[in-house]
Every structure is written in structure tokens, then in C-alpha cells.
């Protein structure tokens, strides 16, 4: 078997290696990549699904892969996962009531900083 493979490899010199999670379009690949970076491995110490080798991470990766292949959107896939695991699985906190403060905090801090700055200057 290996010798046939070697022969083929020699013949098809510009071959690409077999991708573990092959996808049809570049858009799907990008979607898959960014979803894996956005999702948390629940049994690891603060790793995302892209980098973890834990059992559950592999299963969830396969799950996300199948759904991306089926053409599901980000929000559909995320909803599927949060229905089962809660918002904890999302490294990108969704914009919700309790996260509004989090997302606007940088602007608030800058605003306060600018106010203090203006009072001291000019």
C-alpha cells in the first residue's frame, strides 16, 4: 500500500497533503477556522477548540466541521452549542444584557480619561 502511495506521490509532484477537515470553499474554511478559535474547550485550562487535543474537543470539532460543511451559519452553529453548554463555551461573549457593560467598557474608560485630560489641559 505504501509503495503505491510513494509512486503516486512521485508522479503527482504538486500534490497537497490530505487535509484533515477538507472544505469546499475558502469561505467555509475561514468560517471553520474562526469558529474553532471562538469556541472554548470545556475540559481544558483556557484553550480553544482549535488547539486542544482533549476527547471532547475533538468531538466538538467534528461537530462544528460537519455543520460548516452542511452550510450552517455561524449563529446556527453557535446556537446549537450554547443550547447544550451555555455561553461559557463562547470565548467571544455574545452581546447581551449582562455583557453590554463589558463591550462598552473600553469606550467608557476612554471617555472618562478624556474628560480628566481636558480638565487638566488647555
Amino acid at each position: 500500500m505504501r509503495s503505491i502511495f510513494l509512486l503516486l506521490a512521485l508522479l503527482i509532484n504538486t500534490a497537497h497533503a490530505e487535509v484533515l477537515y477538507p472544505l469546499q470553499t475558502a469561505k467555509q474554511e475561514a468560517q471553520f477556522k474562526h469558529l474553532l478559535a471562538d469556541l472554548r474547550c470545556l475540559v481544558c485550562q483556557n484553550q480553544d477548540l482549535a488547539d486542544s487535543n482533549a476527547g471532547l474537543a475533538k468531538d466538538l470539532r467534528a461537530e462544528v466541521y460537519n455543520r460548516v460543511k452542511d452550510g450552517q451559519s455561524d449563529s446556527e452553529i453557535i446556537q446549537y452549542l450554547t443550547e447544550r453548554y451555555g455561553d461559557f463555551i463562547l470565548f467571544n461573549p455574545p452581546m447581551k444584557g449582562i455583557t453590554v457593560f463589558l463591550w462598552f467598557a473600553p469606550l467608557i474608560f476612554l471617555g472618562v480619561g478624556f474628560i480628566i485630560f481636558w480638565r487638566r489641559f488647555r
Partner: protein
């Protein structure tokens, strides 16, 4: 015996630090200078005995004394000797001992190199450093004793150091990081001493500056090393994860950077000293908060130590006393400092303090993101994760105006300047900063990625404005009249530009692929030809595994790299040792995943253009800091 000697030494050191706090303080209150002068002796005593304690712990490791629990859990018989030396700081107890040792070292340095300081400040600084030492030594002895013994497991072989730590990066990263964290205690102590004294000496800036710069340089090195090491070691091709422990080191760095700049404003214009005091207090406070976050178990982290809520409680109490006390002191005493007259915002000092607004907001944002899951959980509102996607989204927009400001700042005059004139003068630079990246990206990469373009535009903006500023100075004053500190600024800012280039290009033009590769297979990736040449069994001092050979060829060059999969004998932990082909302009990175079949592996491939520039930039920032630190103008008495 040695372990007991170590503990005993530590207790003696505690006595010295308590003496350091009490006797000179009495001297200050009762105005007895003879008591004040004894401070130096206690500093030395503290340093000596902590040193002995640390040496004892190291000896326990080198001699494989597994009756010491800490050695049992962090070392093994087959661990190479240089890793045994590092393993001393591999766990919580030992790393706290290192903390304490480094604090005593900084205290000794302050005692030795501050003879030119007014005695009343000097003694107060040493007292405060002593108080910090006393608190930490007490913490180690009561909750984190590295010298605890066990006599049940005899003839043990040790549980081995975490394989992730068995890497050269581990020799340098933690000590450098601690030198930085702890180094900010000096600036902190200067600030508190000043508030205690009740007045700010005009020389305060000159006294605080070197210690702040030194600590900042160490922290810069520590963070750069940590990022490089994570990239090499973890096999995921990432170099920054916004992990709580990383954030814990980044926040003091951001505030330290703000402090360095505000000190310049203090020096040039004599104002905003209260703000610098607050920054000095904040920098070390963030070091302490970082210590709490990492060692108390409130947050999950890849780097976190073994947790114990009791330790968390002690640190929290310590935090409350030290930081709460300092902020209270600041509130009560800082208004006795001179009143500020309003300055012109369009000026170099305005730009530098505006940069403080951005840096401080950035720090607050990182703190908020790190602590938010805790806040939400504590309020009973559920479990949330705040990870890299959040931080990347909010941090980058915060930095963009800062980078633009960086370029402007060097061109604004002190006191006041006209913004329109400056912008007009720099319009040519701006034009080239936009045009050049477009051209470069178009010719080198054929595709222009907008994020990368933005990064490059900002980097070139910083680079060109900085170089133009040097050119202007050369015209007006000549190259040899440019101060070393100014060169430090130039090098450091160019370093920032280099880092931005590294980040922009490697993130946006990098490639990644997870593939299935069989022995002998040839394949293409990122324009390179790969071949999985060989697989051999591997046996190391405390691990066994598989070593593979991959040949990477391009038009003019061929190189062989050796990614490995190791299983460490004691813990049976599998580790991937990625192999990287490094050149200044790109990295090609191969990490073994799982064995899929006989002689077939899942392999992760990365192509990372310009990634080395990230750490190259970090080194330049360090060099810039060193140049400023070693500027002799500040040391002429």
C-alpha cells in the same frame, strides 16, 4: 537537614525584615537618625538569609531530596540537572521564594545605590520595601512553605517537572518576569515614601526614573521571552492568548510604560507629579493583583499554579492592606503637592499624557475582560467566558489612535505648538506611510489584506515620523548632541513599529493547515515542498517517543527539521516538540498531532511570515529602555 536549615534561614530573614520596618520607622518618628541609619544592615541581613534559604531549596533539588514534598512533586531522578535548577521555581511555593529573593535583591540594590538620596526619603523607601518583604516572607512561611517534608514515600523517584516546563525558555522567563513585577515595588516604595514625607522633592523624578526603567526593561524582556517560548513550546503557533496569567504581566507593563512617559513630563515641566505617584502605585498594585489572580484559583488558566483558597485569602488581605492603604494615603496626602496650572494640550507634554489616557484605558480594559467572568459568576448571573476574540476586538481599536499619537508626539514642541502646522509638516510622511505599504503588499503578496495594510501603515508612520524627528534634531543640533535617552526613545519606538509589522503580516498572511501525512509522502504547503522523510524511536533522559524528519525545500534552499512526539516517563504525559525552520523573514512550523495509522500522522503546518519581528521588536524596545536607563546625564551627582 538542609530543608530545615532553609526554613530556619527564612524565619531569620523575616526577623530582619520586621526589624527593617520597625526600628528605622521609630527613628523617623522620634527623629533619631542613628536608628534610621541601621536600615542598611537589616537590608543586608534579610538578603543574606533569604539567599541562604533559596540556596538550601536549590540544593534539595540538586541532591534529589524527595523527602521534601515540593521537590517530590516538581522533580525526578532522571531530570537533567539544569532543569532541576529551574524546577525550584516550577511550582507555587518555590516561585514565591524566588519572588521574595528577588525583592530582597532589589531592596539591597536600592540600599547600595541610593546613597546620594536625601536620608529622609531613603530610610522611608527601605522601610516600605521591608514591609513588603515581611508580608511576603510571612505568606511563604505560613501558607506556601517549600520545605515541608514527607516520610511516607521512601526511595521515591519524584513526580517530575511538568514537561511543558522542560525547555530552555523556562530558565529565563520566570526570573525575568519576577525581576520586572517585583522591580516595580521600588517605584512604588518611592511613591509611598514621598507621600509619607508629605512633600515631593524636585529630585524625585531623577531618583525614581532608573528604578522604573530597570523594572520596565526586565518586564519587557520577560513578556517577550514568554511570548516566544509559548510559540515554540505549545505547538499551536500562537504567541499571545490573552490568558489571565499573560494579562497579569501585561497590565503592569502598560502602566509602567505610561509611568515612563509621565516621568518625562514631570522632568520637563515639573507638573503632574501626583499622576506619576498614582501610576507608580498602580504598577506594583497590578503586580500584586496579578499574583492574586494566578495563585488563588479564582480564574482558569493554562499557566495557573496549584490552587488553594486559603492562600488566596492571605494574598487578598495583603492586597487590601498594601494597595488599599496606598490609595488611601494617596487620596489624603497628594493634594498637599503643588497645585497644577493648566497646560496646553497641543504640546509634547500633552501628547505624552494623552498617551497615558490610552495606556491606562487599555490596562483597565484588559483588567475588566479578565475579571468579568468572575464578576458575572459572583453576581449569580451565570458562567461566561471572555477570551482572545474579545480582547483582540477591543484592544486593537484602542491602540490605533495611540500609534498615530506616537508619531505626532515627537514632533510637537514643549509648552505649546500649532497642530495644523505640525500636521502639514508631516503630511508628506503620512502620504508615504500609506503609499509604501500598499506598494509593498501589492508586489510581495499580490493581495492586499486590509488589516495588514492598516498595521503596516501605522508601523511605517511610527518609523518615518521617528526617523524624521531624529533628522530634524540632527539638522538643528547635530547628531552628537542628541541625548542617549532620546536615542532610547527612537530605538524603542522603532521596536514598536517592528512588532506591529510582525503582528500584522504574520496574522494576516500566515497560513495554517491540518493534514494527514504518511511516511515518505511529499506534499506542498505555502509554496514549499515538504517530505516526511523518516521516523525513528526516541529515547531521552526522562522521556521516550518518536522523532520524525521532515525536509522542507524551496527554490534555493533545503532544510531538515525534526518534530518530535514525546511521552514523559513519570507522568506519561504526551508532548509535541514542534520543529521550526527559522529565517528572519518567515517561520515554517511543523507540529505532530496524533498518530493516525502506522507511520501516519496528523500534522499541523504553519507558515508565519515576519513572526520573528514580533520578538525582534520586543528586543528593540528593551534596548531602547536600556539606552534611556544608562544615560549618564542622570547619574552625575
Amino acid at each position: 537537614m538542609i530543608a530545615e536549615a532553609g526554613l530556619f534561614s527564612l524565619i531569620i530573614a523575616l526577623f530582619f525584615s520586621i526589624l527593617l520596618v520597625i526600628l528605622p520607622s521609630v527613628g523617623v518618628i522620634k527623629n533619631l537618625s542613628i536608628l534610621q541609619l541601621t536600615a542598611g544592615r537589616y537590608v543586608f541581613g534579610q538578603f543574606l538569609f533569604i539567599g541562604i534559604a533559596y540556596l538550601c531549596l536549590t540544593l534539595c533539588f540538586l541532591r534529589d531530596d524527595f523527602t521534601v514534598i515540593y521537590v517530590l512533586t516538581n522533580s525526578s531522578i532522571s531530570l537533567p540537572w539544569f532543569y532541576k535548577f529551574c524546577a525550584v521555581w516550577g511550582g507555587h511555593e518555590g516561585s514565591m521564594l524566588l519572588w521574595v529573593a528577588i525583592l530582597s535583591f532589589w531592596t539591597l540594590c536600592v540600599s547600595q545605590f541610593s546613597k546620594h538620596l536625601a536620608e529622609e526619603i531613603r530610610v522611608r523607601v527601605l522601610v516600605i520595601l521591608g514591609a513588603l518583604s515581611a508580608g511576603f516572607i510571612l505568606f511563604v512561611i505560613t501558607t506556601s512553605n517549600p520545605f515541608l517534608r514527607q516520610f511516607q514515600i521512601l526511595h521515591a523517584h519524584g513526580r517530575d517537572l511538568n514537561p511543558l516546563l522542560q525547555d530552555p525558555g523556562f530558565l529565563f522567563h520566570p526570573p525575568m518576569l519576577y525581576m520586572g513585577y517585583v522591580g516595580f515595588a521600588v517605584a512604588f516604595s518611592f511613591a509611598i515614601a514621598t507621600l509619607w514625607l508629605g512633600r515631593v522633592e524636585s529630585a524625585w523624578v531623577r531618583w525614581t526614573r532608573p528604578w522604573t526603567l530597570a523594572a520596565w526593561c526586565c518586564l519587557t524582556t520577560g513578556i517577550t521571552l514568554g511570548s516566544w517560548w509559548a510559540y515554540r513550546e505549545l505547538g499551536w503557533g500562537g504567541w499571545w492568548f490573552w490568558d489571565p496569567v499573560e494579562n497579569a504581566s501585561f497590565m503592569p507593563w502598560l502602566v509602567g510604560t505610561a509611568l515612563i512617559h509621565s516621568l518625562v513630563v514631570n522632568e520637563q515641566r515639573g507638573q503632574f507629579k501626583a499622576w506619576s505617584l498614582l501610576l507608580a502605585i498602580s504598577a506594583f498594585s497590578l503586580s500584586l493583583i496579578g499574583t492574586f489572580l494566578v495563585r488563588s484559583g479564582v480564574l482558569t488558566s493554562v499557566h495557573a499554579f496549584a490552587v488553594d483558597p486559603q492562600r488566596g485569602l492571605f494574598i487578598l488581605f495583603f492586597l487590601l492592606m498594601v494597595i488599599g492603604g496606598s490609595l488611601l494615603l494617596f487620596a489624603l496626602r497628594s493634594q498637599t503637592l503643588q497645585t497644577e496650572k493648566k497646560l496646553n494640550s497641543v504640546s509634547r507634554e500633552g501628547a505624552m499624557l494623552l498617551n497615558n489616557v490610552f495606556l491606562f484605558s487599555a490596562m483597565a480594559t484588559v483588567l475588566m475582560g479578565t475579571v468579568y467572568p468572575l464578576l458575572i459568576d459572583g453576581l449569580g448571573l451565570g458562567k461566561l467566558s471572555v477570551g482572545a476574540p474579545y480582547f483582540n476586538t477591543v484592544f486593537v481599536p484602542l491602540m490605533i489612535p495611540l500609534f498615530i499619537l506616537m508619531g505626532l508626539g515627537a514632533h510637537l514642541k514643549w509648552h505649546s505648538d500649532c497642530l495644523k502646522t505640525v500636521l502639514l509638516r508631516l503630511s508628506g510622511v503620512a502620504f508615504f506611510s500609506i503609499l509604501l505599504p500598499i506598494g509593498i503588499l501589492f508586489f510581495c503578496a499580490k493581495v492586499i489584506n486590509p488589516s495588514a495594510l492598516l498595521g503596516l501603515v501605522l508601523a511605517f508612520w511610527i518609523l518615518f515620523t521617528t526617523l524624521k524627528a531624529v533628522w530634524n534634531k540632527r539638522q538643528s543640533r547635530g547628531l552628537f548632541h542628541i541625548s542617549q535617552t532620546y536615542w532610547g526613545m527612537v530605538v524603542a519606538h522603532c521596536g514598536v513599529a517592528a512588532t506591529i509589522i510582525g503582528i500584522a503580516v504574520s496574522t494576516n498572511y500566515g497560513m495554517q493547515e491540518d493534514v494527514r501525512v504518511a511516511l515518505g509522502e511529499q506534499f506542498n504547503f505555502a509554496g514549499f515542498q515538504f517530505q516526511f522523510v523518516k521516523e525513528t524511536n526516541l529515547k531521552g533522559p526522562n522521556y521516550h517517543g518518536v522523532q520524525t524528519q521532515f525536509k522542507i525545500s524551496s527554490a534555493n534552499r533545503s532544510v531538515t527539521i525534526y518534530p518530535e512526539k514525546r511521552i514523559y516517563n513519570v507522568g506519561q504525559m504526551a508532548m509535541t516538540e514542534s520543529a521550526i525552520d527559522v529565517t528572519p523573514l518567515r517561520d515554517v512550523y511543523v507540529a505532530l498531532g496524533e498518530p493516525l495509522d502506522s507511520y501516519t500522522w496528523s500534522v499541523r503546518l504553519y507558515y508565519k511570515p515576519f513572526v520573528r519581528w514580533i520578538w525582534g521588536g520586543g528586543v528593540m524596545i528593551l534596548l531602547g529602555g536600556l539606552l534611556a536607563l544608562l544615560d549618564r546625564r542622570y547619574y552625575k551627582t
